[in-house]
Symmetry: C2
Subunit: 326 residues, 2 copies
């Protein structure tokens, strides 16, 4: 009997084609949303691998019915939504870091330039007839951009920024990179990079080590006119401290694609605990950086290559250290 | 007696230093705003060269009192504000095209990415609690960008776009460029380039040939979801036709830094003849692309090198064909 792979999200026809393309002959693929309630328990019992979106829908019920589960692969780059406390020790989890890096990096660049040129602000005022003409715009070619969490997204973004003439400083766990940038350091250099950067781009995953990392102590190290871009996860920033920092430092700008509170239902009006929407020096983006039809196929392929490796007993990439999350 | 150069705008101290730096020993520099009313006629009589901002303040009075005028140099890239009908045939006019090209190109890139990722739109809605999450964002790396008026700005922009993986098509008068792009043509190829482009960037000067060039006939050639960026001059687009095109084609976006109607006084609420400010598919920018403190010095130097060449009898650049404007 071939190993069973559970696809735990609503797959489109084109998604299924990619999935079959990678796994046919190696595994039996079952689609959670197509299993009848009667068969569910029986089908789940044999599942060894789960392909999930972010892991958010992996309920206690599902996990309790999959005693043979060995491997969880996400489509998302972040795995913080996975209920790690419900997993057996033997279950390996792999993120899909890198899968949507091209899309996130390009979106981050758009946020950087929007903030640097103050385009949403000028647009909002001009719609009221007010021309913000005396407010200058600065060139990115003179700027230092600190990328905190210098991984796949950071590298893609750094290539673009270097091509535009900017200086790039990076922080990651190893303090190393194969890309030629202006400065790379490990977390011991974080405060130095924050103090030097004109623009701080956060691409960090949400782990127990990064949660609330950016608090007032960190903001105080930054330049008073810093631009903070967050395309990682909202909770790596302390919400209250960022709000107070922005309220006090009118020259600083935050361009945020990730948040603390999300809509519970689509189209339901959703605000944060603090009224960021009333601040002029915020650019609000509804967590879309990674979602581009232009990378959907490569996101799937990136995840499926890993599942195929697992099935063939080869070394898989992006294995998550579960202790970072528990 | 050394030739007299009239500086016809309010020069800052740092501007004066650059001016003296280039012209000392070659010319006598007089500052219009520092000449007393009594001396004005006498001083103007000897003026051979005028350095002006855009030429807007060259009144009939000033021009009638400068019978020895030989050369007008602007600081602005465009010269459409010069009252050409008041000039003697012998007066040579040079634009400052290229002086602020780095700033305009970077701002144009910011407008392109803002529009492609729909950042001002998402920001406006999220401030009302509405998360536009299902609206995808496309990658620029798959896009054809047509740059109409492929000169200094176009070349600077093309380098950035190529580095981001986009395809660049250009149109200029000669149909030639020394930069390697994907397609370059003369005005006979305009319609073809408009029909092929995902994004149309207009960097044209306003002349009698370009006025109203972009009318409904041109918009009809474009893709229904085209992004139109204008950093040239507002009047190269027909205002009514653009408004109607945008109102009808909700998938199209216009990101405009140049307009038809400008504020007569600073801070006076100013709208256009058509209510662009009510359209969701417009990004409104108050004509700031060229104004960056980071290029102010090079804008001045670019103009002063030309004046110095004129004084030394060397060949000057950017000489305007006055027949394009009369």
């Amino acid at each position: 009997m071939k190993p069973k792979v559970l696809v735990a999200f609503k797959a489109r026809e084109e998604d299924k084609m990619i999935i079959e393309n990678y796994l046919s002959g190696l595994a039996e693929v079952v689609y959670l949303h197509e299993i009848s309630q009667d068969e569910l328990d029986k089908v789940l019992y044999d599942v060894e691998i789960i392909l999930t979106g972010s892991g958010r829908n992996l309920t206690e019920d599902i996990l309790s019915k999959t005693p043979n589960l060995k491997f969880i692969q996400t489509l998302s780059a972040g795995v913080n939504a996975i209920p790690f406390h419900l997993l057996n020790d033997k279950v390996v989890v792999a993120s899909n870091a890198g899968g949507n890096a091209r899309a996130v990096a390009e979106y981050a660049l758009a946020l950087i330039l929007s903030a640097l040129k103050k385009i949403p602000l000028r647009d909002r005022f001009m719609r009221k007839g007010i021309w913000l003409r005396r407010m200058p715009h600065e060139l990115i070619s003179n700027k230092i951009i600190g990328i905190i969490g210098f991984g796949h997204i950071g590298k893609e973004l750094a290539k673009k920024l270097k091509a535009l003439g900017a200086k790039v400083y990076g922080i990651n766990r190893s303090g190393r990179t194969d890309l030629e940038i202006d400065c790379i350091g490990d977390p011991n250099s974080l405060d130095y990079v924050l103090s030097m950067s004109d623009i701080v781009v956060i691409t960090l995953p949400l782990t127990k080590h990064t949660k609330g990392l950016f608090n007032m102590n960190k903001f105080k190290l930054m330049k008073s006119n810093v631009i903070i871009v967050n395309v990682g996860r909202g909770e790596v920033i302390d919400q209250k401290d960022l709000f107070e920092f922005l309220k006090k430092n009118k020259e600083a700008i935050a361009a945020l694609d990730v948040w603390w509170t999300y809509p519970r239902e689509l189209d339901k009006e959703t605000f944060q605990d603090y009224p960021f929407h009333e601040l002029e020096n915020v650019i609000m983006s509804p967590h879309v950086a990674g979602f581009s039809p232009d990378v959907r196929k490569e996101v799937f392929e990136h995840a499926l290559i890993n599942i195929k490796k697992f099935l063939l007993g080869e070394e898989i990439r992006n294995v998550v250290n579960k202790l970072d999350y528990i």
